[in-house]
Amino acid sequence: MILLQVIVDGLLLGAVYALFSSGLTLIWGMMNFINFAHGEFVMLGMYVALLAVTWIGGGPVVFGLAAALGLFLLGVVIYFALIRAVMRGPMLAQILSTFGLALLLRYAAFWVFSPNFVTLPRSVLSGTLRLDGILLSVPRLAAGLAAAALTLGMHLLLTRTALGSRLLAVAEDRDAATLMGIRPDRMQAFAWGLAAASAGIAGALMAISFPFSPAVGETFALTAFVVVTLGGFGSVPGAMLAGLLVGLIQGLSAYWLGPVYKDVVVYGLFVALLWLRPQGLLGAA
């Protein structure tokens, strides 16, 4: 029974991993660009949620939207101020730019919010459901289901709408897309906004049930790398599947080996995967 509990909790957290990783994989797929500050976007989503709860009040929908909107704007601003120029530069500049951004955001958050762990007020969403002997925490259940729905929404947005087609067209061939009357700059800015927003909502969803500090971003960034590599770079369905898998593996290794080793197992798996199958589980050879 405990094992079942571990599996369910792992999958629910994994759905949130899938959500923020799908943002990272979108950027990778469109521009061959890894955003090393993606974990910091998740962290900022958590703090935006906290600020929204304290200033505006209201439930998860309010602070979830606040986090999404706030991070969307941040993503767009970062694209125009930094990424657009860096994309044309050397590899060193590309890697350094988001790396520096990660440091800047993380330690600015230290400065503003203090390095201590904080939590959202319990009153936001709480309670547990008992189901066949497993205890389902309502916040985690809500977070997992909302994240799964949003990841699916992102997939549908990319595959079933005109906007998604334009995004994918730019990803496919920037110059050809320009000839078809698509402005790649706008599409890429939108993708950065979308990716940051997905990280922001994911952060807000996790903030309900987990305490957080400015330092949490680093772990999320690495988790997102693992998920994106596992699912195949650029694939949202791949990220969905891999996110669930990583959540499950983390839960099980924490249960069997001890909580300290949950990241060791995941990072080890990541390195092994890069070694054996760099194209990902679903990617073509």
Binding site: M91, L92, L96
Partner: protein, 328 residues
């Protein structure tokens, strides 16, 4: 750089501890000088792989950590002089480099950076839970030296000259490399791996040579750090910020240039000391805000680093002068 430039630089570096000896904060300034040289060693070592060969490793903390841990380990467990652990640390680093190099070098660009972060974090977490290596508490060196061989000095000056000697050796090796086949091949790899391969450069093998050279010297930097501070824990020896410090130092001065890392260290270390002094304990957070800002600005406006900026301005000045003479 001209021969005279080198002589001036060497003389300035040799004279620095004497020059500041008379001032009020002599001990403070000498210590900072030693820290500048140490940062320059780490960044120059990273520069061989990251600057010349263009492989942006964010995991060099594992080599630095091996170099820092092994000397203190041989002291803590067997009371051996930490100095004895220095070559062992280098050997351990080369071993790690061989193991890690094989899988990660199949990856290019961003993938390589991601993989190196993951491996380094893996090492950090494992060391932090391994009692033999001091777990989360870390390891300590001899509090007071039992003899010269323990290399515990009260003053920073002996460390300064030891660091200077190692830096001189490293820069001599790098300069020699620049002029050799290895240097040309690495430059070609850095400019474009596929192009280099199509021209017949054995890319994998030469990347591995660069990694081994880089890892060995990074390990030395770690050992020197441990000898000077007499203490290492998972964060100070293996944390991601250790790698970040090397990267930003090299990139600020100029990645892939001989003296860029030294220039970067000469700017960043005093900056860090200043923010820590002005803002007290909370200043460490601010230091990294500044670091982050500096990295972003370099990446955005001057990816070649300050040395390239300098060269460009010098070239522009020369061209202007030439035009004036031509007009006359």
């Amino acid at each position: 750089m001209t021969r005279r430039g080198w002589v001036v630089l060497a003389a300035a570096l040799l004279a620095y501890p004497w020059a500041v000896a008379g001032s009020d904060g002599a001990a403070f300034l000498q210590d900072m000088g030693a820290l500048v040289l140490l940062a320059a060693i780490g960044a120059s070592a990273w520069n061989i792989l990251g600057g010349y060969a263009g492989q942006i490793s964010v995991g060099h903390a594992m080599f630095f950590g091996a170099g820092a841990y092994v000397p203190l380990l041989v002291y803590q467990h067997w009371q051996a002089p930490p100095l004895l652990g220095v070559p062992l640390g280098v050997a351990a680093s080369l071993g790690i480099a061989l193991i890690v190099g094989h899988p990660t070098f199949r990856l290019a660009g961003h993938y390589f950076s991601m993989a190196t972060i993951a491996v380094a974090e893996l090492v950090r977490i494992m060391v932090g839970n391994w009692d033999f290596l001091g777990a989360a508490i870390g390891l300590q060196g001899p509090a007071t030296g039992r003899g010269w061989y323990d290399l515990t000095f009260r003053s920073a000056v002996p460390y300064y000259y030891i660091f200077l000697a190692v830096l001189a050796l490293l820069l001599a090796v790098t300069a020699q490399m620049q002029r050799s086949r290895l240097g040309y091949y690495l430059h070609a790899i850095g400019a474009g791996e596929r192009a280099a391969r199509s021209l017949g450069v054995p890319v994998r093998r030469y990347k591995l040579y660069a990694l081994l050279l880089s890892a060995g010297f990074t390990s030395l930097a770690g050992s020197l750090y441990a000898l000077k501070t007499g203490f290492v824990d998972p964060d100070s020896g293996l944390g991601i910020l250790v790698s970040v410090q090397m990267i930003i130092t090299a990139a600020l001065g100029g990645a892939g240039t001989l003296l860029g890392p030294l220039l970067g260290a000469a700017i960043l270390v005093p900056l860090q000391t200043a923010t820590n002094t002005w803002f007290g304990g909370g200043g460490s957070g601010l230091t990294y805000v500044i670091y982050g800002g500096v990295i972003v600005l370099i990446a955005r406006f001057e990816p070649g680093g300050l040395l390239e900026l300098w060269h460009r301005r010098a070239a522009a000045r020369l061209a202007r002068r030439g035009r004036v003479r031509h007009a006359a």
